[in-house]
């Protein structure tokens, strides 16, 4: 066939055959060996995956009023390699973004393809920057958690970080429910890295976060916070907290701490301000703890309310230690021991009970263990076993020393007296709903445990009513509603282990109305000044909150009883 062809043509032909053979080899290599990696490189050049952010769940109060919602804000970023004159751009941006020119210039001169200039800026700022029309500056929308009530319920709600991850409070505890699942849109992009619309080849829809419905009532929370704030400021306290609770269900209606913070700008507040003192701080309760030995004594029937105790005229020496009453008393009936908060009378009565039985009731009232509320960071408090008690311990514990509790534990213990002797488990989250409103999880009321009999609880309510009526908590009286409660003033322990004479924890735990309790209110003030008695600094807060609660729930005062009481009381 090729016999007649000239040799030059043959050479060209051979060359072409060899070249073709080489190409075939290369083709086989590309197709079989490197196909996958090359295909990936090619697809990465034009494929684009756009994350679709889910909406974070809304947090509602018990009346479905929004406490935490989401808004979209604009974040501003720069692509420095696209920018021409970075100096002028920095100058223009500095005044709008509230940063120095040098700071922006430094950011723009980094060897990065992407630099944040401002995240989640206000719509006005974004509008002004957009109007500057600087090449290389672009905008992206980001969801931002917003708390329309500001500081209200800040310790309950907590806050989120820049990327909407829960960092504190319920935002942290229920983060996995609230945050939802990110979706993705798979599409293609053009040579300028822009998404080509209409070429989406796959889309996975985001799943929005679930909503939380709380037991909190934002209005009760609001006036509880207002009154706590007033007391906190008036008595220059280092810290304070208030809890309003339904004694029958354990539903927390309000919980607030001072100092507080605005969750819309949480990082502006020091960490100490963000601590939920009502559950994270434990303290020696002082006399407000006397409800425990008193209930135990009556329940065990080792003491009757009419039994008399000699209160040593205010000074009692026991195993080398001298105990004092804040006012000297002689002989007092047991009911008056509690009414006037006599330490000496209480410790003498507690000796009839013995350390094992006292410890049993301390545990039964739920002290020394977490209440199980759906908030992060709850502490146990400290209750030591009787085996480790000293000879003074029984006396000290009966008057609220050598034992530490949280405000919430006190609220639960007082609820047991208010509701007829059952220890309820507090709860702050009522249910979790999905984004369409279907209930996913309902936090049912936990079965209460009986601590004392109904009879003992009734007896205790009568004694605690007398504390407000004519005892140490007269300032807590709300006319027509007959509240009851117990004051407490505890010396704080100095770092050297000695009880301080200048630092106190004042408390008042009470319920209202005393004959048919609807609400338990706990008020704690840490280091109030210049007054430090619980009956002085905490009772006015209790009184105002109790009065507003009664009005809010349209519970009318008992005018007949008030008139009768006025008749009975001599005019002073």
């Amino acid at each position: 066939m090729y016999k007649g062809t000239p040799s030059r043509i043959r050479k060209v032909l051979y060359t072409l055959i060899i070249a073709f053979a080489l190409l075939c080899v290369r083709l086989v290599f590309v197709q079989l060996g490197a196909a996958k990696s090359l295909s990936n490189i090619a697809s990465n050049q034009y494929r684009l995956v756009v994350p679709l952010l889910p909406k974070r769940g809304v947090i509602y109060d018990r009346n479905l009023k929004e406490l935490a919602i989401n808004i979209n804000l604009i974040s501003i970023f720069a692509e420095p390699f696209k920018m021409k004159d970075k100096g002028i751009a920095s100058q223009k941006l500095a005044s709008v973004l509230g940063l120095s020119r040098d700071e922006i210039y430094k950011k723009l001169n980094q060897e990065k393809g992407f630099v944040w200039l401002g995240r989640k800026v206000s719509p006005d700022t974004a509008r002004i920057v957009r109007a500057l029309n600087i090449k290389g500056i672009d905008f992206i929308k980001e969801p931002q958690r917003a708390y329309p009530n500001g500081v209200i319920a800040s310790h309950i709600l907590g806050f989120t970080d820049m990327d909407n991850n829960g960092l504190e409070g319920l935002e942290l505890k229920f983060d996995k429910y609230l945050k939802g699942v990110t979706g993705y849109r798979y599409t293609i992009r053009d040579a300028k890295q822009r998404e080509v619309p209409g070429y989406e080849y796959k889309e996975i829809q985001p799943i929005d976060g679930d909503n939380l419905v709380l037991t909190i009532d934002s209005l009760i929370q609001s006036f509880a916070e207002r009154e706590l704030e007033n007391g906190f400021k008036k008595y220059h306290a280092k810290g304070a907290c208030i809890i309003v609770m339904d004694p029958f269900t354990g539903n927390v209606l309000a919980l607030s701490n001072r100092p507080n913070f605005d969750p819309n700008n949480a990082k502006a507040a020091p960490p100490d301000f963000r601590r939920n003192r009502a559950i994270c701080d434990f303290f020696e309760p002082g006399s407000s703890f006397k409800i425990v030995p008193a209930s135990s004594l009556l329940e065990e029937k080792v003491v009757k309310p009419s039994d008399k105790f000699f209160c040593e005229n205010g000074e009692y020496r026991w195993y080398g230690h001298t105990y004092h009453d804040h006012k000297p008393h002689g002989w007092l009936e047991f009911r008056d021991v509690i009414k006037y908060s006599s330490n000496i009378g209480t410790m003498k009565a507690a000796q009839r009970l013995g350390k094992d039985r006292l410890y049993k009731y301390i545990k039964k009232f739920g002290f020394g263990e977490k209440t199980g509320i759906e908030l992060p960071g709850e502490v146990n408090g400290i209750t030591t076993h009787p085996n480790t008690w000293s000879k003074l311990s029984l006396c000290s514990i009966s008057m609220g020393q050598e034992v530490t509790v949280t405000a919430l534990q006190l609220a639960c213990a007082m609820s047991a007296l208010a509701n007829g002797g059952n220890l309820v488990k507090p709860r702050i989250v009522d249910m979790i709903q999905d984004s369409t409103g279907n209930v996913i999880q309902k936090f049912e009321l936990k079965k209460p445990q009986r601590v004392i009999s109904e009879e003992t609880a009734r007896e205790m309510r009568t004694i605690l009513r007398s504390v407000v009526d004519s005892g140490t908590a007269e300032l807590a009286e709300v006319e027509g509603y007959f509240p009851a409660g117990k004051t407490g003033t505890a010396q704080k322990v100095e770092p050297n282990g000695v009880y301080s004479h200048s630092k106190f924890t004042a408390s008042f735990i009470g319920f209202v109305p005393s004959d048919n309790p609807k609400f338990v209110i706990v008020v704690i003030m840490d280091e109030p000044r210049p007054f430090y008695y619980g009956g002085v600094v905490c009772t006015p807060v209790f009184k105002k909150v109790a009065a507003e609660l009664m009005s809010y729930y349209k519970i009318w005062p008992k005018e007949k009883e008030v008139a009768e009481k006025k008749k009975k009381k001599p005019v002073s």
């Binding site: 979209n72 929308k141 329309p148 009530n149 080509v196 209409g198 609001s222 507003e548």
Partner: protein
């Protein structure tokens, strides 16, 4: 078989025309898809913008309605509200429906009675 090249010409031309037509249609279709996608994106952007604006307005409304803000405004205007006492509250036992019926009955009995209920 007819091997005259002139006979192939119309067929080749027809094929080329067909292929060109299909190609043009394909490009046109792609352009339409792009345009539609762009329009959808623009509409979606407007929708998202309005939704975002709505969210911010809702936030502002909630902010204004929050008990703290209301209280602050009332205090600034020195308006002090308090819950009414029991004696200041009048309870009406009739539902509005019953009230209307009663007024109608009244009107039937006495046409002049209407003058007392007009303006309800």
């Amino acid at each position: 078989m007819d091997k005259n090249p002139n006979n192939y010409c119309p067929k080749v031309l027809a094929t080329i025309l067909m292929v060109t037509f299909v190609a043009v249609m394909y490009v046109n279709q792609q352009a339409l898809i792009y345009q539609m996608g762009l329009k959808v994106k623009q509409n979606n952007d407007v929708y998202t913008k309005l939704v975002d604006h709505n969210k911010i307005l809702v936030y502002n409304v909630l902010n204004l309605r929050s008990p703290v803000a209301l209280e602050r405004r009332l205090l600034a205007k020195e308006v002090e509200l308090s819950m009414p006492s029991k004696w200041q509250v009048v309870k009406i036992d009739h539902s509005p429906k019953k009230l209307v019926l009663n007024y109608k009955n009244l009107a039937k009995k006495d046409p002049l009675a209407n003058m007392f209920v007009s303006g309800r």
